[in-house]
């Protein structure tokens, strides 16, 4: 017992020293070199021994099945290599065997926390390929659901990340609000997750009576809840110690690595595709892009929490300005005719039959379309060969690309900070592996 206590103290002292001596320019020791030195003399001390361990794939803090090959010297990380593919299901390949409208449920299941964004990336690509304009109400409804989804995704992130850092109560509070959002999805789309609500041409159905009132209730409630989360975490000594000045990567390096989303914004780069022209109806709304200062774990947390507030504002404006009119395009070549027309109109029946049996054809062409998902730039590439099935569907998943920055964040830090970095990176392994 006494020995254990001593060790703990030693760890704490080492940690304190590490905090003070933060010199990012300090040369990292080459693992192979140390391994060589270790063969003789004092290198055999346990603190200096080089140890390569597997973290995961079934480690609860890896948020899925991510395996990290970590080289350690004592508590310090010398090298870190992510190994992925344990959740690879070949969704991109399977999509090539489905007609365009049947691909939507597949792509939703890649990044299972941002299904509305996956749908929008895919449907948006097809709409641009065939030149289909979607009605304004559909644009607003898409934005409404995507922003609810963004809050939901950030809530899952906040709950699980705080859990990784030892704050278990956050998990229950965040999942309480997440459940409210899932109830809203169930009300409008009929499903809590993987809703298949977006269609090529608009959205599947108009929102039901009472949905607006429920969303407004949620919007009134949510800012207060976010205050509560912040009250729980912002003054939490342990949380602050574990996140501040940990995992800092410079903004230039992040850009080189192609990192986007809250990670990049936390480093002070105000880059958000929602502000790009012609992306749904985001141009109609007044919202801010939160940015951090140095890009440590704490900044990443602050940026995401602030994004939730901005999303609530967007949802409120969306409801205020929701235009009347159709919620899906009336182009019968791509969109199913309304059910009641089938018994009276021969053309509708033919279109319905064609769309359901073969599906629509897309003229040969290829397009890459990208949107801002909760984790960064989500791109979808579709190659059409003129048939009713895509010849290639590829998703540029933000988690997959962002994971490249993980080694930069962790090397030179402590192994406990590795968990913190991964939590603040927020990779969704379903999206990484596809």
């Amino acid at each position: 017992m006494a020995d254990e206590l001593l060790r703990d103290e030693a760890d704490i002292t080492e940690r304190g020293v590490a905090r003070e001596a933060e010199d990012p320019a300090a040369p990292l020791v080459d693992a192979a070199e140390i391994a060589h030195q270790d063969l003789e003399g004092p290198g055999l001390e346990p603190e200096q021994e080089i140890l390569t361990i597997n973290m995961g794939p079934h480690h609860p803090a890896t948020h899925g099945v991510l395996r990290l090959i970590v080289t350690l010297q004592g508590e310090r990380v010398l090298a870190c290599k992510p190994v992925m593919g344990y959740l690879h299901t070949g969704i991109e390949k399977s999509c090539e065997d489905k007609s365009y409208w049947k691909v939507i449920p597949f792509v939703e299941r890649m990044d299972y926390l941002s299904y509305f964004f996956q749908m929008e990336a895919f449907c948006g690509t097809i709409e641009r390929l065939v030149g289909l304009e979607i009605p304004p109400r559909a644009k607003y409804l898409r934005v409404l659901h995507m922003e609810l989804n963004r809050i939901m995704s950030h809530l899952v992130w906040l709950g699980t990340s705080a859990l990784d850092l030892g704050a278990i109560s956050m998990f229950w509070y965040c999942f309480r609000e997440r459940d409210t959002i899932l109830d809203l999805f169930e009300m409008s789309a009929g499903q809590r997750m993987h809703t298949r609500y977006f269609q090529v041409g608009g959205v599947f159905e108009d929102i039901p009576v009472g949905f607006e009132r429920k969303v407004r209730q949620f919007c009134d409630l949510m800012p207060g809840r976010i205050d509560q989360y912040e009250a729980l975490l912002d003054k939490n000594e342990i949380f602050l110690h574990r996140t501040r000045n940990v995992g800092v990567v410079s903004r230039e390096r992040l850009l080189e690595l192609g990192v986007t989303g809250p990670l990049l914004r936390a480093a002070g780069e105000p880059w958000d595709l929602r502000k790009s022209p012609g992306y749904l109806s985001y141009g109609d709304f007044d919202f801010k892009i939160p940015v951090g200062t140095i890009g440590d774990g704490y900044d990443r947390y602050r940026v995401r929490v602030q994004e939730m507030r901005e999303s609530v504002r967007i949802i409120e404006q969306c409801l205020d300005g929701l235009p009347e009119g159709p919620w899906i395009s009336d182009d019968r070549k791509y969109v199913l005719p309304p059910r009641d027309e089938l018994s009276t109109s021969m053309e509708s029946l033919i279109h319905h039959f064609k769309l359901v049996t073969e599906g629509y054809r897309v003229a040969p062409g290829e397009l890459y379309y990208s949107i801002e998902s909760p984790r960064g730039e989500l791109g979808c590439f579709v190659l059409a060969d003129g048939s009713s099935k895509p010849a290639r569907v590829h998703f540029r998943d933000p988690s997959f690309v962002n994971l490249q920055a993980f080694s930069d964040m962790s090397v030179g830090g402590l192994i406990a900070d590795l968990i913190q970095n991964l939590a603040m990176l927020d990779p969704i392994i379903g999206g990484v592996d596809r």
């Binding site: 850009l255 690595l257 192609g258 290829e366 890459y368 791109g379 590439f381 010849a391 490249q404």
Partner: protein, 186 residues
Amino acid sequence: MPDAPGLELIAQGIEEGRGGTVIETSVEHDRATLVVNPDGILHALTWLRDTPEQGYRFLSSVHAADYLPATPRFAVHYELLCRERMERLHVKALLADPAAGEESNGIPADEKLPELDSCVALYPTADFQEREAYDFFGIVFRGHPDLRRILMPEDYVGWPQRRDFPIGGEPVLFTHNEIETPRWFE
């Protein structure tokens, strides 16, 4: 995206540095595309990145596609982005399939893989994405620091996202059929 005259200027600028690099330019679906010779891909990307008035310093995505039965069969797509001007440019390198050619140096034709220069030194973000293109299409990126399979198992044989690779060709192993699946335990 750069407009049609802007795209022609870009093509001209690249051609001045190294003739025969740009094969084709096109503007489709509000997107400018530059088709380049695979030998000149690094020259084109370097020019686009380092020319001050271009400044395509952000590489959004690298992905491959198989155009079977067209020739050249493969293409690697680079989605470049200039963040200052919010402009995207699509660069595409077409790659012929060497497996369709003759046997040479004692290597049978169907084992030869298409090759392309890696752009990891220019854009470090391409690391994982080039590995993914290698994993699924068997496109070898020359000069990549660590070209291994990334999503499929290390010992996997075949290039699963090629168009001639069958869908669902692999039996799933359960306890009830482990006897029929030959030598599964190895």
